[in-house]
């Protein structure tokens, strides 16, 4: 199935199974209701823009999808299978790579060790599984330099020595290289220069064309409207809009985000 078929058929019921299906998911932190009854489906080969203002619940939603926390109620299905155990390891094993906004890098480890964290390559020495340092060094060096990190970056150096933009590039490089079925990008263009931004956006489109599901979280509706197939807008923890890109202009969508808070919010659940 080509990517265009994908887009065409996904609107019709049962034509194609969603890769990730969120059903009536709610999540509360104590008294604070971060997500309320959110249902949304994501399909393979599409680039979905997940948009909303600060505190809309975007990051919470992707934290559930990437297994960092379980929902308070509701269900998550991956490839038709209900997820019962929420753990990042499980999500990674299912083929999901997430570029988190604030986490994902351990400052005290070297670039190479960060690159392979959680999936360290080993070699057997007298039957003991020791880190394959040569492989860690060579593979991570190749990837980070392919992604345009300066040549003076030594993958044996602590990652804390990189700049904010370089760290962001590193996270993207890592997610893209280990790509499997889903890539989630949480504000991927933060800390990046204009040119780097364009490159990340091109990359998101390429990944989608390779058949991956790309979830792109951003504030910037104009940026995402240019590249996404579908736009999902969250507001105060609820899904307020879920439309194909062509159905609404970026200006109209921006109006929804801007005025969303004025729309009546149904009674928030007491704790």
């Amino acid at each position: 199935m080509t990517y265009e078929d994908n887009i065409r058929t996904k609107g019709t019921p049962d034509a194609k199974k969603p890769l990730i299906s969120i059903k009536n998911v709610s999540l509360s932190y104590g008294n604070f209701q971060a997500l309320t009854d959110v249902s949304v489906d994501f399909y393979q080969g599409e680039l979905v823009g997940l948009v909303g203002d600060n505190g809309a619940g975007k990051t919470t939603l992707i934290r559930i999808i990437s297994g960092i926390m379980p929902p308070t109620s509701g269900e998550v299905y991956f490839d038709g299978e209900k997820i019962t155990k929420f753990h990042p390891k499980k999500a990674i094993d299912l083929g999901l790579e997430c570029i988190q906004q604030t986490i994902g890098i351990c400052d005290n480890l070297s670039v190479g060790r960060n690159y392979f964290l959680g999936r360290e390559p080993t070699r057997r020495v007298f039957g003991l599984p020791l880190l394959d340092k040569k492989k860690i060094r060579e593979e991570s060096a190749k990837v980070v330099h392919d992604f345009g990190l300066r040549d003076t970056v030594d993958v044996d150096d602590e990652i804390a020595l990189l700049s904010g933009g370089e760290k962001q590039t590193f996270k993207i490089a890592r997610a893209v290289t280990f790509r499997n079925r889903v890539i989630i990008m949480d504000e991927p263009t933060n800390h990046l220069s204009v040119r780097e931004r364009a490159r990340v956006n091109d990359l998101a489109v390429q990944l989608k064309q390779q058949g991956l599901l790309v979830l792109y979280i951003t504030h910037d509706i104009f940026q995402i409207h240019r590249i996404a197939d579908r736009i999902v807008i969250l507001e105060n923890g609820r899904k307020v809009t879920d439309v194909p890109r062509d159905a609404m202009s970026a200006e109209v969508l921006e109006g929804i985000i801007r005025d969303g808070s004025r729309a009546p919010v149904k009674g928030t659940k007491p704790a």
């Binding site: 753990h87 060790r113 360290e120």
Partner: protein
């Protein structure tokens, strides 16, 4: 030059500790007119250092995950008492196994409360510090446990600190073996990489699929086992133990780790440095004894070193990571 210093600090945090070792060795040798450097004193010093270092290695890996274990002093006391209490009945070999199992259980208790329940490790291990100190006082009820002559003649007893090889107490060999094994695990295996990752940034490590609960639990178990084993080694050397055995060892262990270049906030650890840190502390202790200073001064010095060490730790980390 600054870059060079920063690089040394990053890659070899124990460098400063080794410098200190040389410095105080020379200083103490001169002040004591050589008696500090005498063969007899160095032999005693090596045994004392080995026991402290083994406890401090456990402490260092707990610090590596960004936690702290202050129960190690009383756990080593429980280790000593269990070993000496059981050895006459079931033999030294059996007593060592039961003692290690005790250390494992205490470590597991700390580990469950910290890793699964989520209680801050300072509180949990402060509680178990007093709990097992209390147990020690209760089971000895004012008396002390001593190794019988039969026990002392057993080979295992000699192997676990009660004997020496070529003038060197067996505890020293144990300390070096444990150092080598831990060094390999922490710096050369995936588990070690994850231990350091948790210490550096727990949420990030978790997001990369690291099983934080299992590793934290495991680290507390290792710390408990090592503390109990150190208690065995010291008890076998001394031959008897009372309820206060191991008291204040936790402070010395933390001081050793800090002096050795372990970063108290976690993520940076030097086991070799910790060994030298333990040597410095024991060196100061024996120096004070040779000078005839009241032993109470030692605790004051250790406390001071922990405070100064933490201060230096912050400053040095800042220099090391300056871009």
């Amino acid at each position: 030059m600054r870059r060079f210093v920063a690089r040394i600090l990053r890659k070899h945090p124990e460098g400063i500790t080794i410098g200190l070792v040389v410095l105080i060795s020379c200083g103490f040798a001169i002040i004591t007119r050589g008696s500090w450097l005498s063969v007899g004193n160095l032999q005693a010093l090596s045994q004392l250092t080995a026991v402290l270092a083994i406890i401090a290695f456990g402490e260092a890996i707990v610090i590596a995950i960004g936690e702290i274990d202050i129960s190690v002093g009383s756990v080593s006391g429980i280790g000593a008492l269990t070993f000496l209490g059981l050895a006459p009945m079931i033999g030294s070999g059996g007593a060592v196994i039961v003692t290690l199992a005790c250390g494992m259980l205490i470590g597991a208790m700390n580990g469950v409360l910290v890793a699964i329940v989520g209680v801050p490790s300072l509180l949990v291990t402060l509680g178990s510090l007093f709990l097992f100190q209390g147990v020690g006082y209760v089971i000895t009820s004012g008396f002390s446990f001593a190794a019988t002559n039969t026990v002392r003649s057993q080979l295992i007893y000699k192997v676990v600190g009660g004997g020496e090889v070529g003038g060197i107490n067996t505890a020293v060999i144990w300390a070096l073996v444990i150092l080598a094994v831990l060094q390999l695990i922490i710096f050369e295996t995936p588990i070690g990489n994850r231990v350091l990752a948790i210490g550096g940034d727990t949420p990030s490590a978790f997001s990369r699929g690291v099983n934080v609960i299992r590793i934290k639990f495991g680290v507390f178990v290792v710390s408990g086992v090592l503390a109990a084993f150190a208690g065995v080694l010291d008890a076998a050397f001394i031959g008897y133990a009372d309820g206060s055995f191991g008291a204040t060892m936790e402070l010395s262990a933390i001081a050793s780790a800090v002096l050795g270049g372990c970063h108290l906030a976690g993520g940076r650890v030097s086991l070799i440095g910790t060994l030298f840190g333990a040597f410095i502390l024991r060196g100061i202790q024996s120096f004070l004894i040779i000078l005839g200073v009241q032993p109470q001064w030692y605790i004051l010095v250790v406390g001071l070193l922990v405070v100064l060490g933490s201060l230096a730790d912050r400053t040095l980390t800042r220099i090391a990571l300056k871009k």
